[in-house]
């Protein structure tokens, strides 16, 4: 009599890395949410009293706009990376992740250059303290994302980021999209609304 052996059923669990990343990212978003809430309430208070918030001409739109464009494009390349990994397209995975990381570095570089350029002291006013804290915290967030992408690239080169093992890429993508979303609020709230 012939017999057939079946392997044990794999429990159908949600993807732990994605869930964990979503929870951690939500904590980071709440951190920025707290900063933005304080920023906008203090700004509204200052405006209500007719006080100057940022010094005239200190915040210029072009650098912020360039950074926003860079981050928006990096969101697209991140989607490209996830799509490529799902389809086991290794070459495009390398390309997409590398371009996303380079865009992150470019954004950091532009921000550092801009802050050196405007030369606003951190203790000029409450507004400049907020500016340094919010933008600095976002730079730290992007830096973590760039390191994460570097790790993913190394794993991809080792053949570990495949369609069957894509959770780390999805988790990184979730984090990166959050970084782009945070920058969008910075762009709207600080660079445009000033």
């Amino acid at each position: 009599m012939s017999s057939t052996t079946f392997s044990a059923a794999v429990p159908n669990r949600p993807r732990t890395l994605v869930v964990g990343s979503a929870l951690a990212t939500s904590g980071v978003l709440v951190f920025f949410g707290g900063l933005f809430a304080l920023y906008f309430s203090r700004r509204a208070d200052a405006m209500a009293w007719g006080m100057e918030w940022f010094p005239e001409g200190a915040i210029r739109l072009p650098p912020g706009g360039m950074n926003m464009a860079t981050m928006a494009l990096s969101a697209i390349t991140m989607m490209w990376a996830v799509y490529s990994v799902i389809n086991s397209d290794r070459i495009h995975s390398y390309l997409a992740m590398a371009i996303t990381a380079v865009m992150g570095v470019a954004m950091l570089n532009q921000t550092v250059f801009y802050f050196n350029d405007i030369a606003l002291p951190i203790d000029h006013s409450e507004a400049t303290t907020f500016l340094f804290v919010i933008v600095g915290a976002h730079m730290a967030m992007v830096l973590v994302g760039v390191f994460w992408l570097g790790l993913l690239l190394l794993r991809a080169l080792g053949g570990q980021d495949t369609s069957r093992n894509r959770d780390l890429v999805s988790a990184a993508a979730l984090y990166w999209y959050a970084a782009v979303a945070v920058y969008m609020v910075i762009w709207l709230g600080i660079y445009i609304a000033k």
């Binding site: 732990t16 904590g27 309430s41 006013s125």
Partner: protein, 527 residues
């Protein structure tokens, strides 16, 4: 055929030293024990600060203990921060790290290395925080006489403490959300797991806001000259929302789950309506969100006089009352059928819910504007009731699940005596503070006689009672510490000492030995 070489086997047989094992462990039981031990030790430190503050209140004009108002304020704020973030919350995190994975049938915590990282970041942060307070730092003083670098160290420590707790919370929540065994949907999870899920979610959406406050203060303080957030006499005002109503309820919330798990097993009766308790716990969690109730958002009407704050304060009371009624109902149905004595954790856990309810009633009274209790010592009384209740439940939890976490038996009578000392201490501190608050005693009695209310009316006598209460709290905490030490020397425990037949007593832990830290794919059963 694949052969296993001798080398491969030998690497697994290397026995690490105790230090190596402690530092490198990914065993959720070990990590849980580390949280518990550190939390209890730092509880003792916090309560010593509390006792000294109570002693100083005996004669505020003399300043016999601290010598000046600023040192008194430093210890006063250290007591509140330490009691919550260095003691009660870490003990809950430790219990959850050890018990929750087993309750949901996950065998181990998800991301064990991140869970260990969370603990070590918290420990380092706790050391920085305590050191910062000890070297004339802290979280600001009324006289602005602290050392700037020491204040910065305290803030850095606070940030690391928050980071560690959040990291550990993410691991626990991921275990609950994504690591449950097949067939266990969220409506079936044990109440402790559910309360940790709710409380952890609230921690994750409030503690980062506290971190945002702390970062702003830190940057302003260490900039060239502090202009707004880092100005020393304003620092505590920016952070104090985390240590008063309604945020304190979020820190105490796991006590509902501890009581909810202990009572039915001890009384040998099921909950009348498990789903209703889940909903009540979730509602209490939602109402305990307190990140909005900070002075920074006082534009026009102060937040604490706005409708949302007042409604929240009143709405939470009947919810806690319903939880208590549900537990008492289970007890009532179970009393007649049980032939043996009820275990100590049962009494303690029900008492903790009762004390939490007291804290919530006091919170509601504080929201009544004509009573003018917001800045009075009722704030401290509410803190003591709520966080004290959490402490009592934590003791009950360690007495209940300690056999599982340590594998050895503790002297339950000694543990019960310690917990009763804590309970008496809570009442002796909180009740006089409540009465003193109605008599006009300020929350922080900064050395001026006016702030101390009306001494002739009996506030001094009440302060004496509160001092006795603080001593009781400290003795109880020391007793809890000794109970833990005695447990380490105790006999080996039974597999299911309470006859609970619940999942945590029948699931084995597994040791994660993966070489891929972020994936933790391979596991080795046993150890």
């Amino acid at each position: 055929m694949t052969e296993t070489t001798a080398d491969t086997i030998r690497t697994g047989d290397v026995v690490p030293t105790a230090l190596e094992a402690a530092v490198t462990t990914t065993d959720h039981l070990r990590i849980g024990r580390a949280w518990l031990a550190s939390g209890v030790l730092l509880l003792v430190v916090s309560l010593v600060a509390g006792l000294m503050v109570s002693a100083e209140r005996m004669d505020l004009t003399g300043m016999a203990v601290f010598g000046d108002v600023d040192s008194l304020f430093r210890f006063w704020s250290a007591y509140r921060v330490g009691f919550v973030l260095l003691a009660v919350v870490p003990v809950f995190v430790g219990l959850a790290t050890a018990v929750v994975p087993l309750q949901v049938g996950a065998s181990s915590i998800v991301f064990p290395r991140a869970a260990a990282l969370g603990f070590w970041v918290w420990v380092l942060g706790a050391v920085f925080t305590v050191a910062g307070f000890a070297i004339d730092g802290g979280l600001g003083t009324p006289g602005a006489v602290s050392r700037t670098d020491a204040v910065a160290l305290t803030l850095l420590g606070l940030l690391m403490v928050i980071g560690g707790i959040c990291c550990a919370t993410v691991c626990i929540l991921t275990t609950i959300v994504a690591g449950r065994t097949a067939g266990m949907d969220l409506s079936r999870v044990p109440l402790f797991t559910w309360s940790v899920l709710v409380a952890g979610s609230i921690w994750l959406v409030t503690l980062p806001v506290l971190a945002a406050n702390a970062v702003l203060i830190y940057v302003d303080l260490t900039g060239r000259s502090a202009i707004a957030f880092g100005v020393e006499d304003t620092i505590w005002g920016q952070l104090s929302w985390a240590f008063s109503h309604p945020q304190v309820y979020a820190f105490a919330l796991p006590l509902v789950g501890i009581a909810g798990d202990i009572v039915p097993v001890a009384a040998r009766r099921r909950h009348g309506n498990h789903q209703a308790l889940l909903v009540l716990t979730a509602l209490i969690g939602v109402l305990s969100f307190g990140a909005y109730a900070q002075a920074a958002f006082d534009i026009g009407t102060p937040v604490r006089e706005q409708a949302v704050f007042v409604v929240e304060a009143f709405l939470i009371v009947p919810l806690a009352l319903l939880v208590l009624v549900g537990l008492v109902d289970v007890l009532r149905r179970g009393v007649g059928s049980r032939r043996t004595r009820m275990p100590a954790p049962l009494y303690l856990s029900v008492l903790s819910v009762f004390l939490l309810l007291d804290g919530m009633v006091l919170g509601a009274l504080r929201a009544v504007a004509p009573l003018d209790l917001l800045e009075r010592s009722t704030t401290g009384a509410q803190f003591t009731f709520t966080i004290g209740a959490a402490l009592l439940a934590a003791i009950a939890g360690t007495l209940w699940w300690g056999d599982l976490i340590v594998g050895r038996v503790a002297p339950q009578g000694f543990g019960l005596a310690s917990a009763l000392a804590v309970a008496v201490g809570i009442v002796l501190v909180a009740v006089p503070d409540t009465i003193s608050g109605f008599m006009g005693l300020a929350d922080f009695t900064g050395g001026d006689r006016g702030g101390a209310g009306n001494p002739e009316a009996g506030v001094d006598v009440l302060n004496t009672v509160a001092l006795v209460g603080s001593a009781h709290l400290l003795v109880g905490a020391l007793g809890w510490l000794v109970t833990g030490v005695l447990r380490l020397r105790g006999a080996r425990s039974l597999a299911d000492p309470w006859g609970a037949h619940t999942l945590e007593w029948s699931t084995s832990s597994v040791k994660v030995t993966s070489e891929s830290p972020l994936l933790d794919a391979a596991v080795e059963v046993g150890a």
